[in-house]
Symmetry: C2
């Protein structure tokens, strides 16, 4: 339902229904992104593929939801399915699912394909930054339930991050007034590859509400 | 042609041919990413779309080039079309074209759509980091002609970056031994939104070759 204050509250059933429906669609779009990346089929085949892709896009464009934020009825958490770092419905996003622990830390285990490659065989440094900025933000905002914006973020690249299975984790170190100090790591099987520190800020409009 | 040292050197003609062929394909995949993001067509239509997308992916997968680096014959520059920050053939990449100036600085003007949204109406902080890490790397490596890896990068978010037309720019401040110190900005029409400093390192294997 669309509440007066412009938020769609969705039930657990509806959440599950949409996840089962749209998650696989995103997977198919991801497969297409990877297939287009290095294809060398001939010009006729490319033209044919392009025509079909445009037709599918046109179909999907016929009915679109407005960009109203969604909130899960039971958990109270925002459902950020269009997010470019973690959105279930955004094929740009690395295929991450974020897990939140009771101590406020969070983590994700996921696999990065060639679509995220910078130097040969390695994850693009900017993709490492995207992943870590998002994880730090999840920790700072208690799973996005608190409004928090990135103030500063610093990343130290210890060594190249290989494509393949990875783990990212983040936690809050301390809070001082409107600032939340966070730290996180991107890791492969041999330990940390990138280390991140981030300061997140509670926006002015949310300060009196506390 | 595939040289002995594992690099494809492509002529200007071949570069233009491939750009004209694959650039529009990437645009169509981008359109599909955006169309899937917020579609609410019914389950039958989603299933139909997914089946068609899988069929196109299967077609494009039949002939794939090996992940051999490409270099432009005349400019000597790497052709990084699969790069997730800037690749002409990577639909994940923000639609950036990087311009290099004679003084070693570089810049790009581009437009970010809802697929890059974090907070409502604003670019995801991690996407800002991806864009700036890439621009700083382009400046540090003289348009990717020198091997340079991100050592550290620090970003300061002055205010939210609105979706829409943006400009990113970067330049080298100084070099000390194997380190190159860079700075850059992400800007909207009202000036900088994010400021970045990055230190890039020449890898050990490239140091003697200098």
């Amino acid at each position: 339902m669309n509440m007066d204050f412009g938020v769609d509250v969705i039930s657990e059933d509806e959440y599950r229904r949409q996840r089962a429906l749209y998650g696989p669609l995103t997977e198919s779009v991801r497969r297409l992104i990877n297939a287009s990346l290095n294809t060398v089929v001939d010009a006729d085949a490319v033209a044919e593929a392009q025509k079909k892709i445009d037709a599918i896009a046109e179909l999907l464009e016929t009915q679109q939801r407005a960009g109203v934020p969604m909130v899960h009825e039971h958990t109270g958490r925002p459902v950020v399915w269009s997010n470019p770092a973690v959105g279930l419905r955004n094929a740009i996003a690395p295929p991450m699912v974020i897990h939140h622990e009771d101590d406020g830390s969070c983590w994700s285990e996921f696999t990065l394909s060639g679509a995220y490659e910078g130097p040969p065989g390695r994850v693009h440094g900017g993709v490492c930054a995207l992943v870590l900025d998002h994880l730090l933000g999840e920790a700072a905002s208690q799973a996005l339930t608190q409004p928090k914006f990135t103030g500063t973020i610093s990343l130290r690249y210890r060594r190249g991050t290989p494509l393949g299975p990875l783990r990212a984790e983040a936690f809050v170190e301390r809070s001082e007034g409107v600032k939340t100090f966070t730290r996180g790591y991107l890791k492969d099987a041999n330990g940390p590859t990138v280390e991140a520190e981030g300061v997140f800020i509670q926006p002015a409009w949310a300060r009196d509400a506390g």
